[in-house]
């Protein structure tokens, strides 16, 4: 791998210990994956923020790096294990909260913007078409590569942090044109009636294409919220970082649809819906919207539906701090909280320590269903956005 003079200095420790450790990680990954050089990145998104995942060794590692490490590009964080300001409202234990805040402090000491969200592209970390970035968080990776046309591999927590501390990432994988080419055409012959069905379609495609890059035909229109939901689901169930959608995503026009064709119909959507609706759910005791984090538009819709009503179940709307701040300023938070629901910023139902607290969850997110089952042993019922809000009121 060819390094510049400055990169060699970083590797030799001339720019501090944190930078040296970061460069060791990047050079090693570059050699493993046959990169021939580093590429400068425009921004970074870091995962591994919840104390539930990091534990004390992760915290210890971050503290050591923060002794002399400073990020060189705009860097934002994934959701934490709790709302960083109003954690008590969510019933988070005090000892967990203290450790979580120490994690945030270590990131802050490195110059990281501690907006903890899985949707950085909605709140100021917005790359442009063709930009190289180093993002962790699988749903944001799918969005950046596919919807924006920026270029990033699926980073893990430490490799993204290493990119932030050096401003670079090894040039391999999805940074290279030849690895972004679609391999299979998915012809969808049904009609998606609702945002949540985009998530369901993502799961259906993931299970049939097993990690291949897809070129999707048959979707007429898609909003940012719909693509957010679709990419999150595809990334969760297939583990891939890019897709192309004809007439919708910017790089699709570069390619002919691959000759390898797959056909999906409304029946496939329906059978996936069945797989995301557990049998024998006696009573739903947890309702959540905001996986990935809710947009302003979604919060406006929820406030409209909850105005003057009272929820009967624990209902979390999870979003980023900046979106919550806007909701506070314009009175949406007040409407939602007067109805007894909670807007939780900085966190989500995937990373909060809620195992054992609930039995059955209703949500509009196919990604949230996966983690609710895998991590928390909840039963799940997927439903439309409107039905989810109605479930909280029932």
């Amino acid at each position: 791998m060819e390094l510049t003079v400055e990169e060699k200095e970083m590797l030799e420790g001339k720019q501090g210990r944190a930078v040296q450790k970061a460069m060791e990680i990047l050079v090693t990954l570059g050699e493993i994956y046959n990169a021939n050089k580093m590429v400068k990145v425009r921004s970074v998104q870091i995962s591994g923020v919840s104390y539930a995942n990091l534990g004390s060794p992760g915290l210890d590692f971050l503290r050591k790096l923060s002794e002399d490490g400073k990020v060189r590009v705009l860097t934002t964080l994934n959701p934490a294990g709790m709302d960083l300001e109003e954690w008590e409202k969510l019933g988070i234990p005090k000892d967990f909260a203290e450790k979580q805040l120490e994690v945030i402090d270590a990131f802050k000491a490195m110059g990281i913007i501690t907006t903890a969200t899985c949707t950085p592209y909605l709140v100021g970390n917005v790359p442009h078409y063709g930009d190289h970035v180093a993002w962790a968080e699988s749903s944001a990776v799918a969005f950046a590569n596919s919807v924006i046309g920026a270029r990033t591999n699926r980073e893990g927590g430490p490799s993204a942090l290493a990119a932030a501390l050096t401003g670079r990432t090894p040039m391999y994988g999805l940074h290279l044109e030849e690895n972004r080419v679609p391999e299979v055409t998915v012809n969808f012959e049904g009609k998606l009636r609702n945002i949540f069905e985009f998530g369901v379609l993502g799961k259906a495609i993931a299970e049939k294409t097993k990690g291949k890059i897809v070129y999707i035909r048959g979707i007429e229109k898609a909003s940012v919220d719909e693509l957010k939901s679709f990419g999150a689901s595809l990334a969760t169930y297939a583990g891939i970082g890019i897709y192309h959608m004809e007439n919708i995503t910017p790089e699709a026009i570069k390619y002919e649809p691959p000759k390898n064709n797959l056909y999906l119909s409304q029946d496939d959507i329906n059978s996936q819906l069945d797989s995301l609706r557990d049998e024998n759910v006696e009573e739903i005791d947890f309702v959540t919207i905001g996986c990935p984090h809710a947009s302003l538009e979604e919060i406006i819709k929820i406030a409209d539906m909850l105005q003057g009503k009272k929820v009967t179940k624990e209902f979390w709307i999870t979003t980023s701090r900046p979106i919550k701040t806007i909701a506070d300023k314009v009175g949406l938070t007040k409407i939602i909280e007067e109805a007894g629901a909670k807007i939780a910023a900085d966190t989500c139902c995937v990373v909060a320590p809620i195992k054992g607290r609930f039995k059955a969850m209703a949500t509009n997110s196919a990604k949230a269903c996966y983690y609710a089952k895998a991590r928390n042993n909840f039963k799940v019922r997927i439903m439309s956005f409107e039905e989810t809000v109605m479930e909280a009121l029932k």
């Binding site: 060791e24 990680i25 493993i32 060794p57 992760g58 590692f61 430490p158």
Partner: protein, 132 residues
């Protein structure tokens, strides 16, 4: 003595007994960092202690949090003395670097048997097998 040549992932030198797994290892969830014992059910190393061993396995698997587990084990003294892989991937590579565990890959691990005395000269990408 047989010498196998591979590729350095993280530098260092270690000598010890080989503990060989034919299956990939997930450090997050699959190994108890406090005791160094493999706890993944039906894993060929289930119940075995990896601490201070030369741990030989094809590659890592599972969550990227696994890198932090290797760091954790190194910081409390339950980590393996060195790691030898067929193909190291991101999780193990990053774990070895941040935990400063000597690590070599591109080794034909079928040539190594459980209990072999190994010398890992990671800086030179070399593994030496000493049988009696």
């Amino acid at each position: 003595m047989i010498e196998l040549k591979g590729r350095k992932i993280y530098k260092g030198f270690a000598k010890g007994k080989a503990l060989v797994s034919s299956e990939p290892i997930s450090f997050y969830g699959g190994v108890d960092p406090e005791t160094g014992i493999v706890k993944e059910e039906n894993h060929p190393l289930e119940g075995k202690k990896i601490t201070d061993k030369i741990l030989v396995f094809p590659k890592g698997k599972g969550s990227t949090v696994g890198s932090y587990i290797l760091y954790w084990m190194a910081s409390i003294g339950t980590a393996p003395a060195a790691i030898i892989n067929q193909e190291t991937e991101t999780i193990v590579a990053v774990g070895a670097i941040i935990g400063e565990i000597p690590c070599v890959d591109k080794i034909d691990i079928s040539k190594i048997k459980n209990g072999d005395i190994l010398e890992v000269d990671a800086s030179n990408g070399a593994v030496r097998i000493y049988n009696e």
